[in-house]
Symmetry: C2
Amino acid sequence: MEAIFQSALAMIVEEGFEGLSMQKLAKTAGVSPATIYIYFKDKEDMLLQLHKREKERYFACVLEGFDPEMDFATGLAVQWKNRARYIIDHPDRGHFLEHFNFTPLLCKSMKTQNPKFSAIMHRFVSKAIENNELVTMPFEVYWSVAFAPLYNLVRYHKAGMNLNGEKFELTDTMLMQTLSLVLKALRP
Amino acid sequence: MEAIFQSALAMIVEEGFEGLSMQKLAKTAGVSPATIYIYFKDKEDMLLQLHKREKERYFACVLEGFDPEMDFATGLAVQWKNRARYIIDHPDRGHFLEHFNFTPLLCKSMKTQNPKFSAIMHRFVSKAIENNELVTMPFEVYWSVAFAPLYNLVRYHKAGMNLNGEKFELTDTMLMQTLSLVLKALRP
DNA sequence: CCAAAAAGAATGAATATTCATTTATATTTG
DNA sequence: CAAATATAAATGAATATTCATTCTTTTTGG
């Protein structure tokens, strides 16, 4: 089961969802094709379970050392570090999670959405607005300004180059510089 | 040829790259499978040409009414409006372009990268830094702060809902509010 | 009437899934 | 405690279908 998940994730990252076949997967995971169907109803079920598992792993990491009652700048910094660390240390897992968002399977995975995680994030934001640590704005605007730049930087890092093909490596300094720009945007 | 491109793009958006087969594509486009192979060497070639074409269309739209010699705030606003308009008016094309970035085909498409577009963007940025309209920072940091929030907001809009499943529609006001936050981050 | 464009049928390989069996593990019985 | 039996886990081979691609034939515009 663990072997199946690991092989599936690696195959998807290397060859895309169109490169994942159940027989190849079985071979790579060192099991018989039939064995996969003991654990999973079908291919779709396997992918949905894999996605669920990866999302949970990721959310758990994002929340490490985080408390929604933290002051805004501190809490945001903790999240930036957690998110960046996870994706840089596990590029395949990050790639899979992002790629999945463009897949038709995504809508079938929505029901699996963890409401607890979401609640914590909302609590953090509304509390920050109340305390005048954050300009008043819709949650979606907040999230986009607060985290999209981070994900984009990490994507550059994973590609190992920028749009010109020049080499690019994300340093800790650069990450912190970007975070401070984001804070400048968000704070009153 | 046009019909083939359109059908391919629609199929990929609806069913993912794994849902695109040459026979289904031929049927949808109203041609024989053999006809596709008159215009394209093989499936990969077809996808690469489709991507190239979509990228060019998109870049052309982004540059409409834009001049790198514009002052920073104006130029950024033009780009925001162009980018947002294109993706909102053509959600499938936007989805395809973003999805493609997670595909193994991406690296084979890199050679096709338009150096002219890139050059204009760099000119705009370095000129803005010279003129003290923009904090000094690596290009990648700039791009991530300047545009990633926009793309993320538009993604929310396309999904039609936020992470909680509540309804979400991106208004022009919200877009401009986000742009002003981004400008606050980027300007000295 | 010919050359280019398109068609349809055909090919072999690969696909998801299932079937009948075997192997290993636990539970019950004498 | 050992033999018998039930339960579960895993297998390799087989199924029908779909896949990318090509071959031969037909259509069509100049």
